[in-house]
Symmetry: C2
Subunit: 186 residues, 2 copies
């Protein structure tokens, strides 16, 4: 049975994107600081963690906006696994080097299909809107937060309006970021 893992980078003030998201600033003002730990000279701890996540991922569910923004950056599926994009639009599958994007209407259906594809491995959820919909629907087993020690002062709050109960499961600290894995308590 696969685990559905919500994987996000979040600021200390609880934002997963900065204010004023725009086409040329898809992470909002200052929001790209949430991802610097991955790209700008990542520490051995972070490199190992990213490799571990990659190896454990059996399928991915991606919010539509994250897909639109991420595709040119990834140049492929984000993880080498079947990838399900949530959108109302009907689109044919889109094959990439390491997997295929399948376009699915509705979060529950996308997660169901991803579970079936993942087997025993992890289903990774990517995208703030998707994350909130999946949390609200009780479809998330674990939340993995890369807690970045910056403040954004506004933007997309991961937890706004949600009443989520989490239990700490694992903490991995690196010089740049603290990785917090929680189980969702139902």
């Amino acid at each position: 049975m696969s685990t559905v893992l919500l994987l996000v980078s979040m600021s200390l003030d609880g934002y997963v994107a900065g204010p004023n998201v725009a086409a040329d600033e898809p992470m909002g003002e200052g929001g790209e600081r949430l991802h610097e730990w991955m790209f700008a000279d990542p520490s051995p701890t972070d490199v190992e963690l990213m490799a571990r996540t990659r190896a454990a991922t059996g399928a991915v569910v991606i919010g539509r906006r994250t897909f639109d923004v991420g595709l040119r950056h990834w140049g492929d599926v984000p993880y080498p696994a079947p990838s399900f994009v949530v959108t109302h639009e009907q689109r044919p599958e889109l094959a990439q080097e390491s997997g295929t994007f399948t376009f699915v209407d509705g979060v529950p259906s996308a997660i169901d299909q991803a579970r079936a594809a993942a087997g025993d491995r992890t289903v990774v959820l990517m995208g703030a809107d998707l994350a909130r919909q999946a949390l609200r629907a009780g479809l998330v087993d674990e939340v993995f937060i890369n807690l970045v020690p910056v403040t954004l002062g506004g933007g997309a709050s991961l937890f706004a309006g949600l009443d989520v109960h989490l239990a700490p499961a694992e903490v991995i600290s690196s010089p740049a970021v603290t990785h917090l894995r929680y189980r969702v308590v139902r």
Copy 2:
């Protein structure tokens, strides 16, 4: 030279008190959940950490509201050390079993007096308003967050309107809460 340490319990959505703070609900709605890890059967890790903090504390600076709310709960100074309460009101010193409350006008002056009293030991700051004033004034050396895995959905945001740069210094995880110590980057 003493270290000025801001010590707070914070929800995953960045709040240090819940919404609608009132006299009979001083932590706001749901806000008391931020402190349950200390009182309701704390884990050995948390007990040891609290003892370590207590031993390292050379002086305390307390916001006025935190003092008003906390006094009957502590029944003493909050830590066995000289304690400086920030208030415009002129009041005589108030001796307690393990230390004395001194009432000081202004955050910088209170922190100065606390530094002088602490010697080489830590100056602990307590209180959300005080925390924000001290962070804004650049008077904080370290931020120690007890990150509690609950969401409050609103209330007093520790970092709202502040642009704070922190560097991870230490992480201590217990079954109930994750303790994050950061250095303030100036």
